[in-house]
Subunit: 285 residues, 2 copies
């Protein structure tokens, strides 16, 4: 089987490693406009060959693992060039615009929209690892638009990776992700910015940061290229939840300003409920 | 040696466990107005006896490990009743008001203001553990106001616990902590609140949360009693940094609204610098 990996980063790279372990005689051809990454990918044996999009017609399977703004440009071209029994799936963090972009494509049924919830703050081929997806959620969108035999193959490979498959429509997906993922990244990036601006001598102040700060600011290490693309693509949903977040922060500030500490406390007690909810969810790390 | 532990929670409890391991024949007397916690503390052997503040005059060492609003009430009383060679130290997250509250106390030199940077989202005696402080920062304030022999004893015990001692004045301490700790807690509490409010069916949406959300919202599990007390005590510094945070979030929102993605990206690239800074700090967990 010939697998094309477009984008040799954390998610696509990790998925390729699992596929190599699960399927006999898989040949992995890498495509990446980042010359450093593609060279690393070859050096560490993540891919067998450095290839280009013009040879896509020889692919059996294609993973599209690039920022969503790139996927929007590349996916129609990939479908145009795909042979009749090949499948392409993307792994991006937003699904609505990408599904929309190929809804009338004659080969729409050779595409599967997926979102494995397995990203972290690391990126690039060196961040990829085997077994990343074990126990993680895999969201599939518009599965009725994918050819049944290709969908079945994909579901079975995701199951073999240990993923828990969930089905969702693209609108619902993007709205949920704005809330449980994209907002966290903004809160973390802005926390990092605020703290760094507050002291010119960053090193000194961060010396006194405990594990709480490190945990809260972890996502501020994420890839700016990938995240500016997500913020653009999911703009409407993100603005809605970001407004709610800013409003909550302003209300909290108002309570501190007005020394309404009993309200602050009861609000935190309510939010503590998260502890119970999160504890009932199986660990995802 | 008789050690009084006032407040049988995470920090004081963990410190008592280390002291028991480091010093021969230590007797630990617990005081806690929370009847459930003090019973737990006795049951798990964290303390040897349940005692009360009225017997403080028999103490050699006293750890004051209660919310800062409680410390403000209790510390003068503790000093009043301390025998002449005893030492009391607090372990609270704010230092200015507490130091101020006893600045004219005749036994001021038997008090040491400390802040071990070792808290996490857990609380209560069951959360206490040995060796929690190994490799962590211990901030000492106004050490020149503590009797040299008592200070020397305290520094040596903190060193034996593996702590890295730093010296700071209370104002500087409270300002720095608002930035690197208290703000993170607010951002996390409000993130938890926003996400929980956004869907009535919490369980369902949190099912799709990845490790990023869990990391960012971790501190929303923290103790409301302790944190409302900190927000009150460090109100001025917290309002200042919270204003800066809200302002940064509003600017970020403005950039998304106006589709200024290149600015968003370059801002995130700048914030990525944190990665390098945090990586140079020795892991604190």
């Amino acid at each position: 089987m010939k697998l094309f990996l477009i984008g040799t980063g954390l998610i696509g790279g990790s998925m390729s490693k699992d596929i190599r372990n699960l399927i006999d005689e898989v040949q992995i051809h890498g495509v990446d406009k980042n010359q450093i990454n593609i060279k690393h990918a070859k050096d560490i044996g993540l891919i067998d060959n450095i290839d280009s999009l013009k040879n896509l017609n020889s692919a059996d399977r294609v993973i599209l693992s690039v920022p969503v703004s790139e996927s929007l440009k590349i996916l129609p071209f990939v479908l145009d060039n795909l042979n009749k029994d090949a499948l392409v799936w993307d792994v991006g963090s937003t699904k609505f615009s990408l599904c929309k972009s190929v809804e009338n494509h004659s080969k729409r049924d050779q595409f599967l929209a997926t979102h494995p919830i397995a990203g972290n703050e690391f990126s690039g081929p060196m961040a990829s690892k085997e077994n990343l997806f074990n126990g993680k959620i895999q969201i599939l969108c518009q599965t009725n638009k994918t050819r049944p035999d290709l969908l079945e193959w994909a579901e079975s490979i995701f199951n073999l990776m240990g993923m828990k498959i969930r089905y969702m429509n693209p609108e619902e997906h993007d709205k949920k992700m704005a809330i449980v993922s994209h907002l966290s990244h903004i809160s973390s990036f802005m926390l990092g910015k605020t703290v760094m601006e507050s002291e010119k001598n960053d090193q000194n102040i961060l010396d006194f940061a405990g594990s709480g700060f490190e945990s809260t600011v972890r996502l501020a290490k994420s890839s700016p290229e990938m995240w500016s693309s997500i913020f653009k693509d999911n703009r409407k949903n993100i603005l809605e939840i970001l407004n709610a977040y800013i409003e909550n922060l302003k209300q909290f500030r108002f309570k501190i300003e007005n020394e309404n500490y009993s309200d602050l406390k009861s609000q935190m007690i309510k939010t503590n409920k998260l502890k119970k909810i999160l504890d009932t969810i199986k660990p995802k790390n």
